[in-house]
């Protein structure tokens, strides 16, 4: 099938946009107060189609479109599939959650899809302004979604806090773009990489990079830019937290990878130090902070800061290993975290009846299967073998050690020991004997079929990433090599005399 590059490269984004717009148009046509589930199903269908379109793109190798500002390659496809999968699990878990509770459930589905469009756009842009547009689309959707439990003070706090700090961080990012343009004369990553060689103001370039790292550091909630995370996660609806703790972070990490390894590869010795510090701080602050939390969502918020730290460790590695390790870890983290929040969605319900550790006491006797699944995700977050979390950590740290960052790996692994404490505390609470009052709580509502499907997807993904990581690993490594090949190609096109040896492309499976 022949498609124009401009159509092919953004096929998943087109599909999601159309589905989102259709939902917005259909919403007012439905009777007020009637079920909004059909809209949810349309969103799910759109997501599936978008994932299919991404998979379809894989057959075309690297595609450039829109004057080189969009680059669809294995790297972007990896993150497209990841984002689509997260959105799918979130939507499946949201169908019942918002039903009859929120007044504007229809808009929620549209917002999720628009957010996904923004995130996907971020992962396939090689032009910083395009990245910025993607970032804005995804951020604005998540700001609104964070406050979706209207009328609750924590929800409004969550939304406003996220909006204020988020726009501040975006400003940093935009400032960084401006400075990069000043230093190198371009906002395209390939041109920046070339321009760095001849720039007369390298300090400006470093400053630009630092600004962009700050902006993106906020989005991935890396310490010390993490302060918004616990409050926002606590107030936002559980399915939204599942989404925004994984998909936008994955997209931001993808951008960071692109900027670091494609835009500023010659400055690795500079940004590796910045990221080393961010990684060590995030892991330590995240885990120590989580130790003190009694609210489960806040605890998982700190845990997500720590996981951002583990992921940043991958940046200190050699390019190909670093990119593939970071990509793989993002996938593993997304699977287990979206799964954990899917469980929280089911346990707490729209009114968040289960918030603190005490509310989870003895959950295993009331809901054995749900607890078993939750336990599995928690074990994966700890990094217990035969789960995605373990293999992800293993791969990230082996990449870091491969490039000689042994102490960062030691810090990280000792941190994962500290992390056990709070995950285990939650786990032990779930399996503890229920208190007298807890046993009087009315029997929980059964989990709906779509939610079961979503949970199963997350569980299977976490398990497969732990036991049979081969295929995902291959795609992650393919993403790493294809990025490096593209870098080398751009480099050769710009300076033919200084053409280095091209990396060997990976064989297709």
């Amino acid at each position: 099938m022949n498609l124009a590059p401009n159509v092919l490269a953004l096929l998943p984004e087109y599909i999601l946009t159309l589905a989102g717009v259709f939902i917005m148009l259909a919403e007012p046509c439905l009777k007020p107060g009637s079920s909004r589930k059909p809209l949810g199903w349309i969103a799910i269908l759109g997501t599936l189609l978008a994932a299919g379109a991404s998979w379809f793109q894989l057959g075309f190798g690297t595609v450039h479109a829109f004057s080189g500002s969009i680059q669809t390659d294995a790297f972007s496809i990896f993150f497209h599939l990841l984002i689509a999968a997260v959105v799918l699990v979130t939507l499946l878990g949201s169908l019942e959650y918002f039903e009859g509770n929120a007044t504007h459930a229809g808009e929620y589905y549209a917002l999720v899809l628009f957010g996904a469009v923004g995130m996907m756009l971020m992962t396939c842009s090689t032009e910083l302004l395009m990245v910025f547009i993607g970032l804005e689309i995804s951020s604005i959707s998540t700001y609104i979604m964070a406050g979706f439990r209207k009328g609750q003070a924590v929800a409004s706090e969550s939304s406003i806090k996220y909006f204020l700090l988020g726009s501040f961080a975006t400003a940093f990012f935009l400032y960084g773009i401006a400075l990069a343009f000043g230093a190198t004369g371009s906002t395209s990553l390939a041109a920046i990489a070339v321009g760095l060689g001849t720039t007369k103001t390298p300090t400006l370039a470093i400053l630009a990079l630092a600004m962009m790292i700050i902006g993106l550091g906020f989005k991935v909630s890396a310490a010390p830019f993490h302060v918004w995370t616990p409050d926002v996660y606590q107030g936002a609806p559980a399915p939204v937290v599942g989404l925004m703790s994984t998909a936008p972070k994955a997209a931001a990490f993808a951008v960071l990878l692109r900027i670091a390894f494609s835009g500023f590869p010659s400055m690795q010795h500079r940004w590796a130090i910045m990221i080393w510090i961010l990684a060590a701080l995030s892991m330590t602050i995240g885990n120590l902070g989580a130790l003190l939390q009694r609210d489960v969502k806040r605890m998982l918020a700190y845990s997500s800061i720590a996981h951002a730290g583990y992921l940043l460790v991958a940046f200190t590695a050699f390019p190909v290993e670093g990119i593939s390790a970071a990509a793989f870890y993002t996938a593993a983290y997304a699977a287990m975290n979206v799964g954990a929040f899917a469980v929280i969605t089911q346990v707490g319900g729209f009114n968040e009846t289960a918030r603190t550790l005490d509310d989870y006491r003895g959950l295993a006797t009331r809901r054995p299967v749900l607890s078993g699944v939750f336990a599995f995700f928690l074990l994966s977050l700890i990094g217990i073998p035969f789960t995605g979390g373990f293999f992800g950590k293993f791969y990230v740290f082996s990449a870091a050690i491969g490039s000689g960052h042994i102490w960062l790996a030691v810090i990280g692994l000792i941190n994962s020991g500290v992390a056990c404490f709070y995950y285990l505390r939650l786990l032990a609470t779930i399996y503890a004997k229920p208190t007298a009052e807890a046993s009087e709580v009315a029997p929980a509502t059964p989990v709906s079929v779509p939610a079961i499907v979503g949970l199963t997807l997350a569980t299977v993904a976490t398990l497969v990433l732990g036991i049979m990581p081969g295929n995902t690993l291959w795609l992650a490594q393919y993403a790493g090599t294809s990025t490096m090949i593209e870098n080398a190609r751009e480099q050769c096109a710009a300076t033919p005399n200084n053409c280095q040896q091209m990396p060997v492309p990976m064989e297709r499976r």
Partner: protein, 526 residues
């Protein structure tokens, strides 16, 4: 059908399949117990395939029942399983203890049975996995996995309100050194490009792992640290007494000893032979201190389970002492002692569990005069005690004798001092064990034993205990049967080459041993 190439996979994952099956069974009557018993018995039968088909003439350093298939291409991780004389009997021991653990938990675990047996079976999978893995990644995965079910068994089914604290303490003690070990594992991989254990061992003997001496040292310490905590070696035993006194009997039976000791032999000795030899004096000293310290603390415990916990520290220290002599006798003895500890410790904890089942206490002051009421129990208790003390014709003697003669053979002057210290621990062991027997079973009736009517062993309890008693006797009188597998594995790891001067006679005539030597029937294996 030739099972040789799939038996290890089958026996490792049978309990896993069993655990999944158990999850779907109804929790009615005794269904779960019977199912768990059937699964563990089946696993045990499979482990018996190994000694039945083991080739004793295989060259040293080779592995049997191997299965080696690709798993992940990059990083190069393979699904590589295999056993040698070192791991074979440990696998059988693990197989044997499981059905006994189910039998002993038959009535004591009455709530949340399903959870208990699922954790128990998963623990079994992880332990078997540790012993059969020949790929460092796979091994590490199983090694970490052993922590989870055990922590949950302690945390959920512990005896007192202290259980969660004990469980988390156990987990952190074991997990943090293991995390550091992962760094070492990855460092090894970066330097050698392989996770394959036989290849790594071959590289190590050629000094081909790395020329970075400091790196190798740190790496070996990371490995040894993780293992020493798990054994535990004094002074890393902080988790032991809490974990032991909280954990249910079936979990305590497999808590200490064999995983760590096996790993020391396989990895510390195999991959870091030079570093292990350099650090041996320290470990010998720590082991000797551990023997005496454990015995002395056991002597003053009022809580029977704590007593047994400190006793365990002493017994595993004996094994550590033997291993780090790097003599054939010492290493063989250390391996034998590892098996002994598994058997003797299990029997002791089971018997203590039975007392608790009847009287609801482990406080030694509340017992007394039980001998007259429970003739069978006292008999088995005494046999177990004698095995633990190291009375000839029982298994404990063979292990301890070999270990101490090994230490004496190592021609290092200060070893003599530590040996003298360690042998005094043997006397102390006898003291606390016999004192325990005396206080629990003889004398006048104690508070509890007077007011509460207990019962002597019933058929199920007999069934759970007799296998261990018989094994103790068999391993005491027919040690060559076990030695023929253990010895080749030990010889490879020891410093000396077995030559004419190393006949068993030389072992017998070691002066300074505290043991009567006439009944010792080990012979002809070399």
């Amino acid at each position: 059908m030739n099972l040789d190439h799939s038996i290890l996979t089958l026996l490792t994952f049978t309990p896993l399949v069993g655990a999944v099956l158990l999850a779907f069974l109804p929790d009615k009557g005794k269904t779960l117990q019977w199912a768990a018993l059937a699964i563990t018995l089946l696993t045990f039968l499979m482990t018996l395939h190994l000694p039945a088909h083991f080739s004793y003439n295989a060259a040293a350093g080779t592995y049997q029942f191997e299965q080696n298939i690709g798993w992940i291409d990059s990083p190069a991780i393979r699904y590589h399983l295999g056993v040698d004389g070192l791991s074979m009997w440990l696998i059988v021991l693990t197989g044997l203890l499981a059905p006994l653990g189910v039998l002993i938990s038959w009535n004591t675990i009455s709530e949340r049975k399903k959870l208990f047996y699922i954790f128990f079976l998963l623990q079994q999978v992880a332990m078997l996995g540790v012993f059969v893995s020949l790929d460092l990644f796979l091994y590490y995965a199983f090694w970490e996995l052993t922590l989870v079910p055990m922590t949950l068994l302690i945390g959920v089914f512990g005896r007192t309100d202290n259980r969660r604290r004990a469980a988390i303490k156990y987990f952190l003690y074991a997990f943090i050194p293991s995390a550091v070990m992962l760094v070492a594992v990855l460092w090894l991989y970066v330097n050698t490009g392989t996770f394959d254990i036989p290849q790594l061992i071959a590289l190590a003997t050629r000094h081909g792992i790395s020329t970075n001496n400091a790196g190798l040292w740190l790496c070996s310490l990371a490995f040894l640290g993780a293992f020493a905590v798990k054994v535990p070696v004094f002074p890393l035993h902080g988790w032991l007494s809490d974990a032991v006194s909280e954990a249910p009997t079936a979990a305590v039976m497999v808590l200490a000893g064999k995983l760590g000791l096996y790993s020391i032999l396989r990895f510390s000795f195999g991959i870091f032979p030079d570093q292990s030899r350099h650090i041996a004096p320290l470990l010998i000293a720590l082991a000797a201190i551990g023997i005496v310290y454990g015995a002395l603390l056991a002597l003053v415990q009022k809580d029977l389970k704590k007593l047994a916990a400190y006793g365990t520290l002493g017994h595993v220290s004996v094994a550590v002492l033997g291993l780090f002599t790097f003599t054939i006798a010492g290493i063989d003895g250390g391996i034998y002692q590892t098996l002994n500890e598994g058997i003797g410790g299990a029997a002791l904890f089971m018997l203590l569990g039975l007392l608790y089942e009847r009287y609801g206490t482990y406080d030694v002051r509340e017992f007394g005069g039980l001998a007259g009421k429970f003739p069978w129990m006292v008999t088995l208790f005494v046999i177990t005690t004698l095995s633990v003390i190291g009375l000839p014709i029982l298994n404990g003697f063979v292990g301890e004798f070999l270990v101490f003669s090994g230490v004496m053979q190592a021609n290092v002057l200060h070893h003599a001092f530590w040996t003298a210290l360690a042998t005094s621990g043997v006397i102390l062991t006898a003291a606390y064990m016999l004192l325990m027997i005396q206080r629990v079973f003889y004398g006048s009736l104690g508070l509890k034993s007077k007011s509460v009517t207990g019962w002597d062993l019933d058929a199920r309890e007999h069934l759970a205990l007799w296998p261990l008693i018989l094994v103790m006797l068999a391993m005491g009188v027919a040690s060559p049967y076990w030695m023929q597998a253990i010895d080749p594995a030990g010889v490879v790891l020891a410093d000396e080459t077995p030559d004419a001067s190393q006949t068993p006679k030389a072992v017998y005539s070691v002066p300074g041993s505290n043991f009567p030597q006439q009944q010792f029937q080990e012979g002809g294996q070399r």
